[in-house]
Amino acid sequence: MTFARNARLIAAVAVAALLLAAPFGLKPYGIYLLSLWVVMTIAAIGLNLTLGYAGQISLAQASFVGIGAYTAALLTTQGWPLAAAFVLAAVLCFVIGWLLGYPALRVQHHYLAFVTLAFATLVFLILRNEEWLTRGVYGISGIPRPTVLGWSTQGPVDFYFFCLGMLALVSAATWWLIRSPWGRAFTALRENAMRASSLGVDTRRYTLMAFAIGSVLGGISGVLYAPLVQFIEPTAFALGLSLNLLLMVIVGGSGYFFGPFLGAAVSVLLPEWLRFSEGLYLILYAVFVMILMAFFPSGLLGLAERLHKRAGTPAPGPAVPTRDGEAS
């Protein structure tokens, strides 16, 4: 067990060192991709909380990224600090996410997916049509990057480190949450809501909280996304992004703490790494995802856990129990 713990510690230090050193060896586009990975990882962590831990499917995570991004864009282009955008976006996303959770009290699975899909469509239509607020299809440009306690994040490397710091904060908060009694209650909600209720778990409140917190993380991701790309328009937050975020969660391993990190890497970085194949890169990417999902539906971390068990070595296991019984 000590060996396994040491191995995990060494791996964590190595990954942290790699993330800290990576931008110095990359061109601006590479740094942009890394930053995008960080931002999408935060949104995927939020969806993993809602879907992976609490078992509530949502096709609306992109809408919260959009709400966060537009909040940041509208405020910072008017001279407000990005910190104000974080606060306002978090509050907005919490309230809207909480309200979006109400249908989950009545319907589940694909019915719930369609309810959240309808919400995503509504948000997209608002972003596109309410020009007085969002500038519609023209989008919002010139979104500034923040200066944090005198540190300008204008350059790509600086902004990458700013995003990485936010990811560290979000990861620490999420780790704490899922290891708390709330995390256990979320897992119980996912595995057997009726039994959980009979043990005093207020399934209604935890369901709403799972939606609300997951949505807040989507909003925080959006607040970082706007100054990263410095121009936003509605199509960036359409259904495609929600599906992509869902893919990140599932490919990485739904219900695994590190699943979103890996899933976002596959979704954001893998297509770029496959560009050596020129015109074939998207085909290769699609084939990889199809094979992975067909043979390893519990995702990359589910596969890793299965291989560990088959090898007879102590499996590192998920941070908290996983969703897929077959994978264990």
């Binding site: 256990r184 009726m194 409140r205």
Partner: protein
């Protein structure tokens, strides 16, 4: 003895079919009440109406004199009512210890204080005691889904007692459990009851288990109570033999 649970004229209909028809009974403090009846007699429906999983069509349920009809299961549990289900209902991806901690954590503090508190909600010690009591120490850190059926059954029952409930409704606790483990389960249920910690209502098809455990037995047939009394009296009751055993 005062009544812990009072059920009055409880009725549950599904469309035109009446699953439970005007059932009334009391459960007294400290007793182990058996509820028997053939398949489809309405026992589990009655449980689910009492425990808030189903809304009764008519009737009244009281716990210690307080109306609890239609109350949500989680609120009932917080009032001290535990239960098990007919089918196994453990959380397979949680360890045995975490299943037990979960079963007790919602009784401690508020939702917010639990978030800020210890990961185990301070329940590791209590969970370990329960693990020892139900002889699950060898599998305490195993995922519940990896346990044998009998061990899961024990865990299921142990979870119902984790929060120190006043009243526990057990739905077929002996179902699928081998005779050795069953004797152990009976011994533990008796021990909990004798320490005055809980009053039980037990639905069971295993007559030997019911007769050796319960202090009083109700017989439900086609949604109505047809007999009530001491186990020995029920065993010899002609109506029960005819209706329940089909003689």
């Amino acid at each position: 003895m005062p009544a812990v649970l009072e059920v009055r004229d409880l009725t549950k209909t599904f469309g035109g079919i009446s699953a439970v028809s005007g059932v009334s009974f009391d459960v007294h403090d400290g007793e182990i009440l058996g509820l028997i009846g053939p398949n489809g007699s309405g026992k589990s429906t009655l449980f689910n109406c009492i425990l808030g999983q189903l809304t009764p069509s008519a009737g009244d349920v009281r716990l210690d004199g307080r109306a609890i009809t239609g109350m949500r299961p989680c609120d009932l549990n917080l009032l001290g009512v535990g239960r098990t289900f007919q089918l196994l209902q453990v959380f397979p991806q949680l360890s045995v210890r975490e299943n037990l901690i979960l079963a007790g954590q919602e009784h401690l503090g508020s939702m917010w204080s639990r978030l800020a508190g210890q990961p185990d909600a301070g329940l590791s010690g209590a969970a370990n005691q329960m693990i020892e009591f139900f002889r699950l120490a060898a599998v305490a850190d195993e995922r519940a889904g990896a346990l044998s059926y009998g061990q899961q059954k024990l865990l299921d029952v142990a979870m119902a007692f984790m929060a120190g409930p006043r009243l526990v409704l057990l739905d077929e606790p002996a179902g699928g459990v081998n005779p050795t483990m069953l004797a152990g389960l009976r011994e533990r249920l008796r021990a909990i009851n004798e320490t005055g910690k809980a009053t039980f209502v037990v639905i069971e098809h295993n007559m030997e288990f019911v007769m050796s455990l319960c202090t009083r037995v109700l017989v439900l047939v086609e949604g109505r109570i047809i007999a009530e009394g001491a186990p020995e009296a029920i065993r010899d009751n002609r109506d029960v033999i005819e209706a329940y055993l089909g003689h």
